[in-house]
Symmetry: C2
Subunit: 361 residues, 2 copies
């Protein structure tokens, strides 16, 4: 079957816009990340927020991953239900409702959670007490990204002290997400924290670094034990732009139909902001790369309309044409849909439910 | 129960982030739009892409709406299943798969669809043939928005001629979505088209204008028979900014927990781009208004992190605080979740499934 036939088959069977993954590329991406981690002597703990599909998490584990990372407790619940147990939730979980859910999951799997403040530790202690088993806690450390994470080693050590003193918590390790510039600062942060932990009689079992852009830096933090990369399983325009992936590493594209060509230099795709999302991809030009018309620009959106600027296109698409768009950011696109269409070569081989979409943090 | 208790109840029962609608405000918004249309002598055909919930569509009809507008055939399928039959799908539907679905729905309800090109008409003719009943078609006309829609009356008349000649199609009307500046041009477009239609022996049963910002202009097009507004049922920061709604008309907010306060001027919400979306709201400052801290700025996102800039806040939120965010754009936020939590005053009264989310165009 040709690529053209595949497009027609997908449009006919599933409609457009359809979010399609190429499993041959997925397999290659999984193997590539595993090889990078193996070479660095660092465990691989892929972040499943990108795909949210247990079968893909199992592929990652079968390829050698130590376990997985989740961003939401609801994602972890789905993965434990699917039989995956070695999970880090890289998030500050807060509140009584989450404590109850964490207690339930901790009785089924050796889950590890993260904290950057004492309020979160209190929720974890409640969970540990309710579960009858201590909760394993990692301390999230900020080294320049200014997202979450304590800003100083002293704060990290103080949280470790609170963990040590609680009968319902155990100290498990440290979570880092260095920026390209902050590796030396991260090393200094780690060394100072490690010394403070030692004075408490504690040591970090897990020292985790993160990010697909940081695949070039796996092992750069001396003492790191794990790396967590998410986007790398599919890649996207943002990862190509930053050099973390080649165009041929992009495993996900949105099959979309040109539904209007009301002017010579404009056109409309049936993929709008409710499919491709308004994610600017960190400042990329436009909202996706059209593989068949790379000179076309997706210049804006209505909710179900992708607005094409075709001024620079010599070959312009016609109404009814099906084109493939590599999105700016795959993780948010997967989150929009209930299923991914999986292909190998020019054949549809599987429809995969995005089982952990729409779950609670 | 106080507002504080309501927040705790919602966080406990449903977790955060939770997308919450205030039904008293919803009712008032529905009544306000109906009154505007009634006063102008124009039928009300609200666009359900905003809420995607049959029970809310039925509220709109009970308040006096003629019928509803959908943006996707999949939305129309859900609404017909729920017993709503007078539906306009304001979209160019393309392809054999959609023709088949349209045929099925046309046998159950007097659905009206839109076209701006002959390829779409071909799909509609196939649907009409398969259904054994002609498909009612409206012609989408562009008057300055440059989204979809024919750009000239001559093109509209030519499409009407094709419709007239097909035994499987009937001409139903014209769809407009004027910009603030284009009302005179729209009137001229309409008059020229109307004359051309008359020379073909055709007349538009439906002449539709659209948009919540255009609620101030309902009836401004002489000859308009209907108006379709979507966002007005909930409103949002964008509608307040453009003057189409007052702050107290905003019926939807995202209840979200402050999960990190790692620096004095920063904080993290558990609502990120997978909840509030990266929709910039047409150039608003930040990604939502925090009702409890209007001076705080949601300056950016990770997928499950909303990044707060608290520099201008005198009263800064603490870790564990639950706050309410009015999003930039409600329509895309509703599309992210499987349910809305409905409250009246300080009581949760219903959980509403977003039944038409995740459906095919």
């Amino acid at each position: 079957m040709s690529r053209r036939d595949l497009k027609t088959e997908i449009a006919h069977a599933f409609g457009t816009p359809a979010v399609v993954i190429d499993l041959d590329r997925v397999d290659a991406n999984i193997a590539r990340v595993q090889a990078i981690c193996d070479k660095a002597g660092v465990a691989n703990r892929p972040h499943i927020k990108t795909h949210k599909i247990p079968a893909l998490a199992k592929k990652q584990i079968a390829a050698g991953a130590q376990g997985i990372t989740c961003q939401k407790l609801g994602e972890a619940e789905v993965m434990v239900d699917a039989g995956i147990t070695d999970i880090v939730v890289s998030y500050n979980l807060i509140g009584a409702a989450r404590a109850g859910r964490l207690a339930a999951i901790a009785q089924r799997a050796p889950i590890k959670v993260c904290a950057d403040n004492p309020v979160t530790l209190q929720a974890y202690a409640e969970a540990g007490q309710a579960a009858g088993t201590p909760i394993a806690v990692m301390i999230e450390c900020d080294t320049g990204r200014k997202r979450a994470g304590v800003e100083t080693a002293a704060e990290a050590i103080e949280l470790a002290r609170i963990i040590k003193e609680s009968p319902h918590l155990t100290f498990k390790g440290l979570l880092f997400y260095p920026t390209e510039q902050s590796w030396p600062a991260t090393q200094a942060f780690f060394e100072e924290t490690k010394a403070g932990l030692a004075s408490l009689g504690l040591a970090a079992d897990i020292v985790s670094t993160g990010g697909t852009p940081n695949l070039a830096n796996v092992g750069r933090l001396a003492g790191a034990t794990e790396h967590r990369a998410g986007t790398s399983i599919f890649n996207d325009r943002m990862m190509v732009a930053c050099g973390a992936a080649a165009p041929e590493d992009c495993a996900l594209s949105v099959y979309t139909t040109v539904v209007s060509r009301a002017g010579p230099e404009r056109g409309i795709l049936d993929a709008g902001s409710k499919t491709l999302t308004a994610d600017p991809g960190g400042g990329l030009d436009g909202y996706g790369l059209i593989l068949e018309h790379p000179e076309a620009r997706i210049k804006g959106f209505a909710e179900e309309h992708g607005m094409l600027d075709l001024a620079k296109c010599n070959q312009r698409p016609a109404v009814g044409d099906i084109v493939r768009v590599v999105p700016n950011h795959v993780c948010v696109v997967v989150n929009m849909v209930d299923r991914l269409i999986a292909v190998r070569g020019d054949r549809v081989v599987e429809v995969m439910e995005v089982a952990a979409r729409g779950r609670l943090v």
